[in-house]
Amino acid sequence: MKNNIRVERAIHNMTQAELAEKIQVSRQTINAMESNKYVPSTVLALKIARLFSKPVEAIFQLDPED
């Protein structure tokens, strides 16, 4: 699964730390998701989508391998 969290963060002018605090996870989690090392839970994906006011599919997309 890929995501454009980094792009969304840039649009909202938000650092990893700020995003982490808003969705109550560690900065490590944000970094791991942005570098495609970690696929978040549905709860976390929904939280991120809600924060950026977009549908989940606009932020997270399936990879051909998925």
Partner: protein, 155 residues
């Protein structure tokens, strides 16, 4: 989601404070047969392995029992205390590291079965009681630290 099996973060320090002196004591017990005489006791005869014969007295020194207990307790407390911010990624890394530790433990044990012979195998058995939590701790913190280092430039 809260993981009910984890201890609060401050237990990391407690575990470490138990492990360091106990590990040093354990090395001297295992390799230099160190015993602390105030821990000489007579054991109850009904315990397995204890018999009162001419050659096998029920007396025992509890230095090794105490040391091993503290090492095991320290390791388990370290493994089971949560991180400062224990979230789903850390939980994922925790489980993955545990899987890793069990696998590596048995690879090492398998190699040792073929590479270590006779009395020396005693050390393998003693040390393999500690390898699962030890490998877990190394792998878990290595992954978290690596992630921390990469974070410095990703603002």
């Amino acid at each position: 989601m809260k993981n009910k099996l984890l201890l609060p973060h401050r237990y990391k320090f407690i575990g470490l404070m138990m492990l360091i002196p106990a590990f040093a004591a354990g090395i001297s017990v295992l390799f230099f047969d160190w015993q602390w005489s105030p821990l000489d006791v007579d054991l109850p005869k009904w315990l397995p392995g204890v018999s009162d014969t001419l050659f096998n007295k029920p007396a025992n020194n509890l230095t090794d029992e105490l040391t091993l207990s503290l090492v095991l307790l320290g390791l388990v407390i370290l493994c089971f205390s949560s991180e400062k911010e224990e979230d789903e990624f850390i939980k994922h890394t925790r489980l993955e590291s545990l899987q890793w530790a069990v696998l590596v433990n048995y690879i090492i044990l398998f190699a040792a079965v073929w590479l270590v012979y006779n009395n020396e195998f005693w050390y393998v058995m003693i040390l393999s009681m500690l390898t699962i939590p030890a490998i877990f701790l190394v792998r878990f913190h290595w992954v978290l630290n690596r992630n921390n280092l990469k974070m410095e430039d990703a603002l």
